[in-house]
Amino acid sequence: MAIADDEFRSLIEIHQRMVFSIALRVTGDPSTAEEVAQDVFLELHRSVERLANAEHIRFWLRRVAVHRSTDALRRRAHRPEFAAEEWEEQHSLEDDAPISSINLQARLDELLRALPEPMRVVVVLRYQEEMLPDEIARMLGKSVASVKSHLHHGLKLLRRKAAVTMKEYVREPA
């Protein structure tokens, strides 16, 4: 084997939360996320000798987790229930119901699932992994402008959805 069992187990234990969280938030489904996360670590098992150090392994795991998650999402042909623009048109802030007490944490996965895939990936990497836009752009092979645009629109859409469904962040300026 390319890596000793105990070393490999240690790598899984260090990174499983990161890999599973990315998979969960991108795919929106715990069982798919488990499968994707397992596949990512099996791929690591085959490739680990090519990775130079701990930082490289972390970067590689993040990148592969994102790619395998989006692959799984496309295989499932999962689409948001509404297109982003359509959703925004259907929900205006003025005619909202009373503010819900459900917190963002509890509704986060549901809100994320409604985002289109490219926005979802960028939002997860920015706010879960706390990566900067240029790091995200490098990882995804996109331009920084494209990443910033996805972030801007993704965030706007999330706020709008959160406002409509939770009523906790409705404080638009006059």
């Binding site: 084997m1 390319a2 069992d5 490999f8 187990r9 899984i12 234990e13 499983q16 939360r17 990161m18 599973f20 969280s21 969960l24 938030r25 715990p30 996320a33 488990e34 996360a37 397992q38 670590f41 099996l42 098992h45 000798e49 917190n103 963002l104 944490q105 986060l108 939002v123 997860v124 706010y127 879960q128 706390e130 965030l155 999330l158 706020r159 959160a162 962040y169 404080r171 638009e172 300026p173």
Partner: protein, 116 residues
Amino acid sequence: MNQLEELSSEFERELTRAMRGVDPAEGFADRVMARAQVNAKPRVRLFGMPLRARVWTSGAIAAALLTGIFIGEEIHLRHQREEAAQQQFELAMRITDRTLEHVQQQLWDAGVRLGN
């Protein structure tokens, strides 16, 4: 910072807090290890070997190749030598035949008759 930016930052902070990592179901490492062991079939993979084994295997393969080339070259040379000997033999036989015919013709011209 205007009110909209302030609200956005507040929402972003909330989002960062809400997006904390989630652990997979218990026993995840065991499940991955089990799959890794099933997938790790005993195959001869030169680049997956330890350095010492890789050096020895590479050396053995190189030695086998060199031996093969040497034996092939020997067989080729031997074949060439056999062909050359065969050609020399055929040439000698043709010369002998022509000489005998010539002698026979001279004897015939001299009126010498050798048996039947």
